[in-house]
């Protein structure tokens, strides 16, 4: 019973991280119709930066967010302005896949070149401590990671629903031409949307660095599940991404009891194929979602 309970709690914690990252992917797709394969490469890059600052200066990973979040935001805005906006509108979505794939390769190669392919792990003073929740033993770092992800997701949600900028961004997602007519500079909004997406990768990467062993090619393990989540949730829908992330994170954690770590990952792909057969546009996506 306690094992089951523990798996449920762990699954929800993992789902929180998935939800934050999938929300980032949804932002890129929503504002620009861009499928950002490099999202998880930036995730691992952020984790490496957190690890680097920690080993070099002893900086707590949570404090390194002060550096990585603004940095990633600016990189995102620059990437949208300098690279993505150069692609032809007619083939934007397809070519963005290849371009961001190329960026992912560049990042992976650089990580391996600078810090070698060996595995890295942050040693934190509070890294070994556990806490008991409802009879399940949960590592403190996992809770902190979840708290960070959940707080960022809430902040992102408030930003999108309560501010003028959020309104402009949602308008751009729903109807770019109409938003333009209302005086919204959709290009600028797209740039900020891209920056926000990368900022979620920075936060997610820092959360990941707290209790995971990282290595350059780790991003391939993340991109598959994340892509599956956004298709299942419906491309472009943030609530869809968040719900699919929680459900699939929980399923993965529960399947681990019976099947072990490796086979549990298949639940993402199984869900993806089943979704395509039953509802190709995803569970919260509009009809348009299967076109892009």
């Amino acid at each position: 019973m306690s094992l089951l309970l523990q798996s449920i709690v762990l699954g929800l914690l993992l789902g929180g991280l998935y939800a934050l990252l999938a929300a980032g992917l949804t932002l890129y797709f929503g504002v620009m119709r861009v499928v950002m394969i490099a999202h998880s490469a930036f995730l691992i890059l952020a984790a490496y930066l957190a690890w680097y600052f920690n080993t070099e200066t002893g900086l707590d990973p949570l404090l390194s967010l002060v550096i990585t979040v603004p940095l990633f935001f600016l990189v995102g805005v620059g990437m949208q302005r300098l690279l993505i906006s150069r692609l032809r509108p007619a083939t934007l979505t397809m070519m963005s896949v290849l371009l961001t794939f190329a960026i992912a390769l560049v990042i992976e190669g650089l990580l391996g070149y600078i810090w070698s392919g060996s595995q890295r792990r942050i040693r934190l003073p509070y890294g070994g401590s556990d806490i008991e929740i409802l009879g399940a033993n949960i590592a403190v770092v996992k809770l902190i990671a979840f708290g960070l992800a959940a707080a960022s997701l809430v902040a992102l949600f408030l930003l999108l629903t309560k501010t003028r900028f959020g309104q402009a961004l949602r308008a751009t997602i729903q109807h770019p031409e109409a938003a333009e007519l209302l005086g919204i500079n959709t290009d600028r909004v797209a740039g900020y949307g891209f920056g926000l997406g990368l900022a979620t990768a920075a936060i997610g990467g820092t959360a990941l660095s707290l209790d995971a062993t990282i290595y350059p090619s780790l991003h391939w393990h993340w991109i598959g599940p994340l892509m599956a989540i956004i298709v299942v949730g419906g491309l472009g829908s943030i609530p869809g991404a968040a719900i699919a992330a929680m459900v699939l994170g929980l399923s993965q954690s529960l399947l681990q009891i019976e099947l072990g770590t490796t086979w549990a990952q298949t639940c993402f792909y199984l869900a993806l194929f089943l979704t395509l057969m039953v509802r190709p546009q995803g569970f919260f996506g509009g009809r348009l979602a299967q076109r892009f």
Binding site: F101, A102, W220, V231, F273
Partner: protein, 378 residues
């Protein structure tokens, strides 16, 4: 309404026919020279290593051409085509090891098995377009990686799979390379021929209509789903044969390399770089990328820096020549070639006729008129 085709005089038609005939002769000569160059490569190659690089490049060319059956005709870009090469390789290897089958029969059967697996995958993934299709293709290769790594009792798992060589030990390595070079070349020739035939067929026209505008193609009565599925399965079959032949040549399969997104990305990069709409585009791309990849690996093999180099190459292709080298080069040639419509080909009577039509206020006729006079001026 006069259009360009209406104003062709018998004289211009004859010129066009003559230049068309010349173009065919030129193309045939090009193909013969290309074939001669490829076939004489093993005797020119300085040492077995260079010969083996040639074999790798030819295997890439087969895979890229296989990819182009789907990507080029329909515009559905699969980033996970390495899955079919990997399945073809493993099917061939496992049939030889487990069933003790003749290697060449195993190769053919491996291709057919992979094609059969591609049918349900195609039915599921062709329900979505664009980005979702790419995501599904990536997911498929990742799930195969998972299965082939974890199901160690059947596939050898992370230890890999040793595939016995098709010829006995008396066939030495250089001779082995030479034979496989010709085998890959033969497979490539067949694949190119089939691609060429489809390109000129009604089926091919339907596929290209899907690429340009799938909804309109469907409205015009193209059975889009069936066409896509056939192209998809054929593409998987050719790719699987390429993977199977690679397994027989290399003799060793490792899931990490067989089912990697990088492998699929190479196919896309090669096809895009050479040009997905042309017959020889993927072949040209394979020569360039294959050489570049081998060079990067030899130069930066210890670090992961070859990934960065490949990534930069892909980014440059996507940003600056998404149509590929061949169309870019063709555009360049056209600029320097003498214009086919000279001033003499538009007679005064025709000009007067066009002017009359233009004065009629018809916008499209005016457009024709302007274009003709501009052509005459240049």
């Amino acid at each position: 309404m006069p259009s360009a085709s209406d104003t062709v005089t018998p004289a211009t038609a004859a010129t066009q026919r003559r230049s068309g005939g010349a173009a065919i002769v030129l193309k045939l000569a090009g193909v013969v020279v290309l074939a001669a160059a490829v076939l004489s490569f093993p005797s020119i190659a300085a040492n077995p290593f260079i010969l083996s690089v040639g074999v790798v490049i030819m295997s890439y060319a087969v895979l890229a051409t296989g990819w182009n059956f789907m990507g080029g005709f329909t515009g559905y870009m699969s980033l996970g085509h390495a899955a079919y090469a990997g399945l073809g390789g493993y099917a061939t290897g496992l049939l030889i090891l487990e069933v003790d089958m003749n290697p060449w029969v195993a190769l053919a059967l491996g291709g057919l098995i992979t094609a059969a697996i591609a049918v349900p995958i195609g039915i599921a993934s062709l329900r979505v377009r664009g980005a979702s299709f790419v995501i599904v293709s990536i997911a498929f290769v990742l799930i195969l990686l998972l299965v082939f790594q974890s199901w160690a009792s059947f596939t050898g798992g992370s230890n890999g799979l040793r595939v016995p060589r098709p010829w006995g030990p008396e066939v030495l390595r250089p001779e082995q390379h030479e034979r496989f070079f010709y085998l890959f070349t033969a497979l490539l020739a067949v694949a190119l021929l089939v691609w060429w035939l489809i390109d000129r067929s009604r089926f091919g026209i339907g596929l290209k209509a899907i690429r340009e505008d799938e909804d309109k193609a469907q409205a015009l009565g193209v059975p889009t789903f069936g066409y896509k599925l056939v192209a998809f399965v054929l593409s998987a079959f050719v790719t699987a044969l390429g993977g199977g032949l690679y397994a027989l040549w290399f003799g060793y399969l490792d899931p990490v390399f067989q089912f990697s997104i990088l492998g699929g990305a190479y196919m896309v990069l090669m096809s895009l770089l050479g040009g997905v709409r042309s017959l020889f585009g993927p072949l040209l791309g394979a020569v360039i990328v294959g050489y570049a990849v081998e060079f990067f690996k030899a130069e930066y093999g210890d670090s992961q820096f070859h990934l960065t180099a490949t990534g930069l190459l892909l980014a440059v292709v996507v940003l600056f020549m998404p149509d590929g080298i061949l169309p870019a080069a063709a555009g360049l040639v056209k600029r320097f070639r003498p214009q086919s419509s000279s001033i003499r080909e538009v007679t005064a009577a025709e000009l007067a006729e066009q002017r009359r039509a233009a004065q009629g206020g018809d916008q499209s006729a005016g457009g024709t008129h302007r274009r003709v006079t501009e052509g005459a001026r240049s």
